[in-house]
Symmetry: C2
Subunit: 190 residues, 2 copies
Amino acid sequence: MRTRRAAEDDWPAIWPVWHAVVAEGETCLWDPDTGEARARGLWMLPAPAEVLVMEVDDGPASTRVVATALLVPSQPDLGNHVALAQLLVDPALVNLGGGAFGPGGYHGPSGAQGIGRAAGEGMIDHAADLGYHAMQLNAVVAANTRLVALWRSLSFRVVGTLPAAFRHPWQGDVDLYVMHRFLPPPTRAV
Amino acid sequence: MRTRRAAEDDWPAIWPVWHAVVAEGETCLWDPDTGEARARGLWMLPAPAEVLVMEVDDGPASTRVVATALLVPSQPDLGNHVALAQLLVDPALVNLGGGAFGPGGYHGPSGAQGIGRAAGEGMIDHAADLGYHAMQLNAVVAANTRLVALWRSLSFRVVGTLPAAFRHPWQGDVDLYVMHRFLPPPTRAV
């Protein structure tokens, strides 16, 4: 998997991933019915925001976008050394848990967990190379234990719990976690 | 003290308060040198944001803006029942602590603590009347113990700690608290 900065003309490949994750309604706070024009405005933000795509080879001469990330400074000016991050991974490739798969969850095909993890690693490395000192996730659905476990395995810890902050489509009002990790120094120019 | 929705033409009265608080550099994350044009763009946001002013009588036929608040939905769509709030109180009227006043702090003239508290109450009541279910403060400087105490006295609790998230002008990197409280049902139309 390769992680790179997205250009405007990547949007047609980003939108199916964005839509699939948001329509699921379990890991994002946007309206599951959000249409493409609004989605593009929410996601393809100008600098200092940074939009990333994670892609894999999909044939001898083609690639496929399997995940996308959005990095913005968590706070302005005196707090802009912390990246606020969001990561959306194609749900057809990785199940991050949730009620639709029933108790115990669905483990997915071989390698599926690896795609979410690799996308997370790509996002972390890119943010470090941008010079950010730390990364913060502001809205990790506490009920989504598989997603929380993925972030923990990438060295994030829960630094905050926002009570009843997510009106979950079928679980009622559930908590959101704020998760955080420090980042290593940059290793290359991006 | 009266709290009301601000109009565009309130900006000239808001700016001196905004500037005084931000220039102090102890409670806000904006660059202390932020100029008026950028400040206006950062603060006077369109709906669903709501800008408030708190004013007191300043003579038989005049009023003075002593504080201003900004309320925005903390999250989009499925999380927009929580208000993300910021409150700026004229530092000439209320000292919320900080190193410039030396160890132990400066207690200010009689009634000063009351102005910060009354402004906070006005903001809370207005947010409740807008229909928000809860209020969240995302960046309360942990080193500012007087400000933290004020929010605690208004029923906020610390629900998160963001490590080293504020590059404090002379204390180095200090923590930010995320503080939260639930709100009562609306009591009037605003």
